[in-house]
Subunit: 156 residues, 2 copies
């Protein structure tokens, strides 16, 4: 597979959402994906997120990083890697390493002082990958979240 | 103490950074704060973050929430609470509850589907506070991060 990477455009959003849905299905949580293509289009237009995609020689997307700009109160500008997906059938070919490298490059381009992301505690291959890349893994933080009712968004 | 809240303006940034530094000092990590007032001014102008401050009857800031817009690939628009500070001397007066309520309101105003934040695993009072507010606490995610050298930012 000959892989090239590029920044995602609005034409890629349907494929990106498809990748996200495939992963949710694999994780046995297909009903948890509420976001629609219209949401992705609105979010992308509003710069809520950016993405870099890895395509094969046919232009088919085989993997992607989805990230956004955030703020560390201690360090300043921070790029947050929300999703990092390589298609099941395209793994073990270094696509993840290329995408992660591009993500770090983009963070530096944007003047970020750091990058951050999350990894599941049982995902040893991913943890090894990140540690090899020089990452610090913090284990003492828990996530809090409140999900609003589906309806609450539509009232606005 | 008569508390009122309002959105932070650029005039509040020095006070906000001061609050952040006090907290870092309390956490015995004063050297970890690299961000300068100029960084805060640039980030604020760029909409990298927003803040709501709680002031007393003299207009002095007693607490603040610092947050930014992000993207959940499953749910869509998400507001992330990066920092949630109430001055040591102003605790136990409900200021945190007011600020958290304002943060949730702001998330709904912005059309967010969910809010997210982190809490240290040993911080039982905070965890109880969030659970009472209806939050889900996730314990299975670890944070990965790579901090760039101080210099790398200045090359850009």
């Amino acid at each position: 597979m000959r892989i090239t990477t590029r920044k995602a455009t609005s034409d890629d959003l349907a494929d990106l959402l498809q990748l996200v849905c495939e992963l949710a299905h694999y994780e046995k949580a297909p009903d948890e994906v509420w976001a629609t293509l219209e949401d992705y289009e609105a979010g992308f237009t509003n710069n809520d997120f950016e993405s870099i995609v890895a395509t094969d020689e046919n232009g088919t997307i085989q993997g992607a990083v989805i990230y956004y700009l955030t703020w560390s109160t201690w360090k300043g500008r921070m790029l947050y890697l929300e999703d990092f997906i390589v298609k099941q059938s395209a793994r073990q070919q270094g696509i993840g390493a290329i995408l992660f490298e591009d993500f770090l490059k983009r963070a530096k381009e944007l003047g970020c002082r750091l990058v951050k992301w999350q990894v599941l505690d049982w995902n040893e291959p991913a943890i090894r990958f990140y540690e090899k890349a020089g990452a610090t893994i913090e284990k003492e933080w828990w996530n809090g979240k409140i999900i609003f009712e589906k309806e609450s968004n539509q009232e606005l």
